[in-house]
Point group: C2
Chain length 360, copies 2
C-alpha cells in the first residue's frame, strides 16, 4: 500500500512505500538527501552508505519508487517551511521508474528565473516547479469555491456553446472557425446563454471559456480566459448585490482556507471580509478618490486601474475589507442588456466587485 | 421575502409571495387555476371571482409575481405526480411582469411533440418544457457528482486548452480556427493535456469540450461533446480499475439520488451498483456473448453496440449490476498511449466502463 508524503507525518516508526518525482538532491559523501514530491507535497529522503551513492546519481525529475522508515527529525533539523518538515524517511530501497532527460535549466532551486518563451516552451516541466504549481492549485480551489457558493444559492450548472454563428458582444475581435464549410466564431462570453437559461432554471452558473482575438499584450488582455458566471432571476438590485458579494467572497475565502500553506509560501495575507462589504456608486467612489487621493476623475465613465487600487486601499483602511462593490455606471457605457436605474436612467443597475485593486 | 414553490409545502396557512412562469391555465367560470414554475418546481394557484377572470387571460410563459395563501388540498385533489401536490395557493394578488408573445406551438401539454428543427430553433423556449428541462438538471448533477468523486480520489482540477496547434488524435476531422493569422484546431480530446499534468499534480480531472468535425448524424457522433476526464499516476491496473469504477458509479448514483423525482417522471430505475462491479476481458465478454446470445464475434477487436447491450444484460442478470468493466482490448486497436499488457503484449491494459448498454 502506497503512502503519500503528507501522510508520513502520522507514520513515525512505520515502513512505507512512496512514488513520486525527485525535486532536489544533496550529497555529503556517505549521506545523501533528496526531496520526493507527490500529489500531497514533498518529503525529505535520507540515504546512507551504498544507498547514498545511488541517490547521488539521481537527477531532478527522475520518477522513483522508494521504501523506507519514517523517522522524526531531531529539533535542530526541523524545517518549518514544508508541511512534512518534522519527519524524514530513512531510505531502504530505491527504484528509478523513469530516468529524466538532462534539464536545460535549473529546476531544483527555490526560484525559477526563466525568460517567458523558455517558461512556456517547457510548460510541462516548468508547471512542476514549486513556485508555479501552487498557482494552479489555487485556481483549482477557486473553481471549487465558486461552484460551492453558486450551488448554495440554488443555481443550476449549465454547459454553454463556445462556437456560435454570431459574435456575442459585437466587435471584430473574434476568432473565426470553419464549421462544416460555414463561418462561425468562438464565443466571447457566456453572457447571453445564461440570460436565455434564466427562464429555464431561474438561477444558473457556468464556468466557460471566453475567447477574444485582441492582439494586445497586457495583463488585462487575454486570448482565452476562464469565466465564472452566475445569473439570477427575480432579484431586486440590493439582493443581487448580496448574491454577487456572497459568491465573490466565498470563492476567495474557500481557496484561501483550503491552501493556507500556499498563502504563507507567497506571503499573501488571508482575505479580510467584513460582514458587510462596502458599496459605493461610481460617483461616490470618484468623490473619495478626489478627496483622499487628489485625482479628479469625477466625470469619467469608469474607474481606471489606479482608481481601482486606490478605492480598494480606502475600503481596507476605512472598512477592514479587501472587497468593495461599485455600482451605477453610466448606462451608455454598459452593454445593452444592463438595466437603467428607474430613478435615474442615466446611470444603470450595474456593478463591479473589486478585490485588492482588481475587478473580479 | 419571496418563497419558492417547493417551500410552500411547509407554509400551510401562511401568506406568501412567489415569482415565476405560467405553465398551464385552466378556467371553469368563477374558478381558474394555473401552474406557476420557478427554480424549485411548480405549484398550483387557484383564483376565484374577479381574479379568476384575470387568470383566464394569462398566457403560457407569462412571467408573473403573485401573492396568496398556502392551503392544504383536500384528499381527493392531491396530485401525487408533483412535489407540491398536497398544497395549492389561493391567489390574492397577480402582477404580470412580462407578457409572453403568442406561442407557435403548444408548450402547456405534458408532452412536446415537435420536429427537431422546431425544437432547436426555439431552444430557449423548448428547454423550459417539463420533459426537456429535467434532462439538463440531471446533466448538472452528473457534473457535480463526477467532481465530487474525483476530488474524493485527491485529483486536482485542471483547465485545458481547447485551441491547439496540432490535432490531438490525428485524423482530418478537426475544426480549423484562424488564430492571429496562424492555422489552429479545436482540440479533439483533453487526453494529452491531462497526461502532461500527471507529473505536475499526480492525479487530475477536467471537464472539457471535445470537438470532432464528423459529418455523420448518429447518436455516437457529436460535433461537440462535454468530456469528464480523470488521470492518475502510479496506479497498477487493478487499482486503476477501482478508481474508474468508483468515479463512474458515484457520478451516476449521485445524480440519481439528487433527483429521484426526475427518475420517477421518466420511469427510470435507480441504478443497481453491487459492491464489486463485474470485470471481463474483451475475449471473456465475447465468449459470453457467443454462449448466451449466440453471436460469434470472438475475433472482433471491439464490442459492437449490440454486444454492449447484451453484455450489460448479462451483468444485470448474473451480478445484479448496471455496470460492467471490459478490459484488454487488442493493443493495435487502441491509441498509442495505451500500455500493452506485459504478460501478453498483443492485448493492452485498456478498459471501457459500460452502463446499461452504452460505454461511458
Amino acid at each position: 500500500m502506497r503512502s503519500t508524503a503528507l501522510s508520513c507525518n502520522e507514520k513515525i516508526g512505520e515502513h512505507v512505500e512512496l512514488s513520486g518525482w525527485v525535486e532536489r538532491v544533496r550529497t555529503h559523501g556517505k549521506i545523501s538527501f533528496f526531496d520526493l514530491r507527490d500529489r500531497s507535497g514533498t518529503i525529505q529522503i535520507a540515504a546512507f552508505d551504498d544507498l547514498a551513492g545511488k541517490v547521488a546519481e539521481l537527477s531532478i525529475q527522475d520518477v522513483v519508487r522508494i521504501k523506507g522508515e519514517v523517522k522524526a527529525r531531531s529539533e535542530k533539523y526541523i524545517n518549518p517551511e514544508i508541511s512534512t518538515g518534522k519527519v524524514e524517511i530513512k531510505l531502504e530501497e530505491l527504484e528509478v521508474l523513469v530516468k529524466a532527460a538532462e534539464m536545460q535549466f535549473d529546476m531544483g532551486g527555490k526560484e525559477l528565473k526563466l525568460e517567458l518563451p523558455t517558461l512556456l516552451d517547457f510548460r510541462s516541466l516548468t508547471l512542476r516547479h514549486q513556485i508555479i504549481r501552487p498557482i494552479f492549485q489555487i485556481q483549482s480551489a477557486i473553481l471549487e469555491g465558486f461552484r460551492k457558493a453558486s450551488i448554495e444559492l440554488e443555481c443550476e450548472e449549465i454547459v454553454v456553446p463556445e462556437i456560435a454563428m454570431e459574435a456575442t458582444e459585437g466587435g471584430a475581435e473574434v476568432f473565426k472557425v470553419s464549421y462544416y464549410g460555414h463561418s462561425a466564431f468562438m464565443t466571447q462570453s457566456p453572457q447571453l446563454y445564461k440570460q436565455m437559461l434564466v427562464p429555464v432554471f431561474e438561477r444558473v452558473f457556468t464556468i466557460a471559456h471566453a475567447y477574444r482575438a485582441e492582439p494586445s499584450v497586457t495583463t488585462r488582455h487575454l486570448s482565452v480566459a476562464t469565466q465564472l458566471d452566475c445569473e439570477f432571476g427575480f432579484m431586486e438590485f440590493p439582493e443581487l448585490l448580496d448574491a454577487l458579494e456572497s459568491v465573490g467572497t466565498k470563492t476567495v475565502s474557500y481557496a484561501a482556507s483550503k491552501h493556507p500553506e500556499i498563502l504563507k509560501q507567497f506571503g499573501v495575507e488571508t482575505p479580510k471580509i467584513p460582514k458587510k462589504i462596502p458599496r459605493l456608486t461610481l460617483r461616490e467612489a470618484q468623490e473619495i478618490i478626489f478627496k483622499e487621493f487628489g485625482r479628479d476623475n469625477r466625470s469619467e465613465k469608469d474607474l481606471n486601474p489606479q482608481d481601482e487600487i486606490d478605492i480598494c486601499k480606502w475600503a481596507l483602511d476605512k472598512h477592514g475589507s479587501d472587497f468593495v462593490t461599485i455600482t451605477h455606471f453610466p448606462t451608455k457605457k454598459r452593454a445593452f442588456y444592463t438595466m437603467p436605474d428607474p430613478e435615474n436612467p442615466e446611470y444603470s443597475l450595474s456593478y463591479d466587485l473589486l478585490f485588492r485593486g482588481v475587478e473580479i
